[in-house]
């Protein structure tokens, strides 16, 4: 995984992705997001380094250009919640400084204050997001379509959600998007996910990034503009991505 030799290429831009708990938080194709970030950077001749961080591994501030944390099973999530407390300060400092983060489902929940299960037991998160999650009885499952103004005004994002946790945002927090079809954070508010600075929390699996290339490019751009002030992404041929997006749209 560690490829320091990439970093010796002079003049090439470099993107470092810190993949949190890839061995434990990896259900519903969340690995596809790492593949999409990596490929779309490589296709633009940007060097990519992926650093896996799992139980007990060390981390420092300022290493990650992008943090990624996917979803996991309940048992994994308990273990990860515990270990994540060690890294809380580091990740928090980075996110406050504008480091890009993408957290999905279980990962999103753990970036909030806590997850309260059916029996009322609280699993502590790392409070990056002013949000909390409460286990619900109903499983919110199926294709989901949201509208967000973060990339361009009115951009549509598609994914697949599968969760019973209902997430509620603090009153000053901004959702990632508005739900057009599906559930999102909870069945009542029609809100999906959260965006805080450059960190996104969302319930969208699917995989999310491959068929939403605009979002992938937004993440890469935000991450690299912090390092290279004049950074702009060159366009790619996204015809297949667009057709896949259309195909996914037709499956509602």
């Amino acid at each position: 995984m560690n490829n320091p030799e990439f970093f010796d290429t002079p003049g090439k831009k470099q993107l470092t992705i810190v993949h949190l708990y890839p061995d434990l938080m990896n259900i519903y194709g969340d690995r596809g997001n790492i593949i999409a970030l990596k490929q779309r950077a490589l296709w633009r001749n940007i060097d990519v380094k992926i650093i896996p961080i799992s139980l007990g591994d060390n981390l420092e501030t300022g290493i990650a250009d992008i943090y990624f944390l996917g979803g996991g099973q309940d048992s994994s999530q308990n273990v990860v919640a515990n270990d994540l407390q060690r890294l809380k300060k580091i990740i928090k400092t980075d996110v406050e400084n504008g480091t890009v983060a993408l957290t999905i489902c279980g990962g999103y929940q753990l970036f909030g204050h806590y997850y309260k299960d059916q029996k009322g037991k609280k699993l502590k998160g790392i409070s990056i997001f002013d949000a909390h999650t409460i286990a619900g009885k109903k499983r919110m499952i199926g294709n989901i379509k949201i509208k967000t103004n973060i990339i361009d005004p009115g951009s549509i994002i598609l994914g697949f959600e599968n969760h019973s946790g209902q997430t509620f945002l603090g009153k000053n927090e901004k959702p990632f998007g508005r739900v057009l079809k599906g559930y999102g954070n909870n069945p009542r508010q029609h809100q999906e996910g959260i965006i805080y600075k450059n960190a996104i929390g969302t319930y969208l699996h699917g995989s999310l990034l491959p068929k939403n290339p605009g979002l992938t490019d937004w993440l890469i751009t935000k991450a690299l503009q912090r390092k290279y002030s004049d950074f702009e992404l060159s366009p790619l041929d996204d015809k297949l991505e667009e057709k896949t997006f259309k195909e996914a749209t037709s499956r509602f």
Partner: protein, 454 residues
């Protein structure tokens, strides 16, 4: 005379008859109505039968068919639930249309296991493995494991439970007091360390110990999370094997040779390819040994056993040999990729992905499979099905160029196109369940294969 039971039989049979006249498969609807009329229909039907229940994520159908064949070859009469319909209603249909036999072999869906087992009261319960599969339907695998454990602990009869020891969840279930005190547990597993290695695949998904949620340590991985594991703090170990599978010789699509050892040795040969089929066939062999079938019958039966519907079935069309391979989850997909890699010849592939309920409506599993490994052996792809573009996109992100991928939405057209445009003699179709059924119908019309329900 039980009037309700009699009425449900009559009504169910009538529906079955009409559906068959209309040329439909009729595997679910008659049973569904029989249960509606008499909720205890399955229990009452199974009461005078010796039943064997088989569950697990991957390999149920092949294992059930192999066991059925061995028993038939040993002159036993058997009932076997119809292809792919392994929910309670499918089991009901099976009982509806068959007279009582020596054995009823029942494949069940992982989730339906807990409703089916108490009703059919099996003499033998077989659990193959537990992988991620269609989580939109089953939820997470931890929950399935808990459900199995609860079902086995709460049965009001004694059964023999045959378990794959290489799966940590099953190793755990089979060593649990509430289960060992009630049932007879028999463990089997691989004992040939040429298979697999020290590093896990991406789709390994059960890496935490079921005893205490600490990370499991592995001495060896066979594939996915199947291997030799332990967790020192809770003193959890891979169980001692009652049956060992050894001396494995893989010959790619030509099949394999292997030995099964307990107090004696049985040498086996099969036409079915891949390590996953060695697990499946070994399970059938061991089950037959538990039922006291002679080794000579078992050996012969396995040697001429042909693959089940769409499981590495080969069909000749014009001058091409086409192999049909079912894919339904990342572990299965990876196994098929390994199989394709075993044979160094470069290949053209047709990949059909539908997202109907039977396939799983969530296609994210395509991103969990190690598609990147295909770059070494695949030249050209045709993708098809309701999610043909998603599959093409997966290939693009694995590093294939757009001129290496053709997208044809309709599976039947895709197959024509594939046969016409490929220069290769051996062609491979990797298909989800409903794309397989669609293509199968086309082949039935061409009179190349029998309908799947026969």
């Amino acid at each position: 005379m039980d009037l309700r039971f009699g009425l449900s039989k009559l009504f169910g049979k009538t529906i079955f008859f009409f559906l068959r006249v209309l040329g439909k498969g009729a595997t679910a609807l008659p049973g569904l109505w029989a249960i509606k009329i008499d909720p205890n229909f399955v229990y009452k039907s199974a009461k005078n039968q010796n039943c064997i229940v088989i569950t697990g994520t991957n390999g149920k159908t092949t294992t059930a068919h192999a066991l059925a064949k061995i028993l038939k070859d040993a002159n036993q009469t058997i009932t076997h639930n119809l292809s792919g319909s392994n929910l309670l209603r499918g089991v009901a249909t099976t009982f509806l249309i068959n007279k009582p036999t020596d054995w009823a072999i029942i494949e069940t869906d992982e989730a339906a296991f807990s409703t089916i087992v108490p009703q059919v009261q099996p003499k033998l319960i077989i659990i193959l493995n537990l992988f991620r599969d269609q989580m939109d339907r089953y939820g997470e695998i931890d929950k399935t494991a808990k459900l199995w454990q609860k079902t086995l602990s709460n049965l009001n009869f004694k059964s023999t439970v045959l378990l794959n020891a290489d799966d940590p969840m099953l190793g755990y279930i089979g060593q649990k007091k509430s289960i060992t005190s009630q049932h007879k547990i028999i463990f089997f597993g691989l004992s040939d360390f040429k298979i697999g290695g020290k590093i896990s695949e991406h789709a390994a998904d059960s890496l935490l110990s079921p005893t205490n949620n600490k990370k499991l340590k592995y001495k060896h991985f066979f594939f996915s999370h199947l291997g030799i594991y332990h967790e020192p703090e809770s003193n959890f170990h891979h169980p001692k094997l009652d049956f060992k599978i050894e001396n494995i010789k893989l010959k790619s699509f030509q099949g394999s040779e292997f030995k099964i050892i307990d107090t004696e040795v049985i040498d086996l040969k099969t036409n079915l390819p891949g390590v996953f089929n060695i697990y499946n066939l070994s399970t059938a062999v061991i089950a037959a040994k538990i039922l006291n079938i002679e080794d000579t019958i078992i050996k012969k039966s396995i040697a001429d056993f042909k693959p089940a519907f769409g499981r590495a079935e080969t069909i000749k069309i014009a001058d091409k040999k086409i192999t049909f391979l079912l894919i339904k989850n990342p572990v299965g997909f990876n196994q098929i990729i390994s199989l394709l890699q075993d044979d160094i010849e470069h290949k053209d592939l047709l990949i059909g992905i539908n997202d109907q309920i039977a396939d799983g409506t969530d296609v994210s599993w395509l991103w969990d499979a190690d598609i990147e490994r295909l770059t070494l052996i695949a030249d050209h792809f045709t993708t098809t099905g309701t999610r043909a573009h998603e599959m093409a996109l997966r290939l693009k992100y694995a590093g294939f160029r757009s001129d290496e991928i053709t997208i044809v939405n309709n599976p039947k057209d895709a197959l024509d196109n594939f046969i016409k445009n490929s220069q290769k003699e051996n062609l491979y179709c990797l298909l989800t369940y409903t794309t397989m059924i669609e293509l199968r119908q086309k082949l039935v019309k061409l009179k190349l294969v029998k309908p799947f329900y026969e």
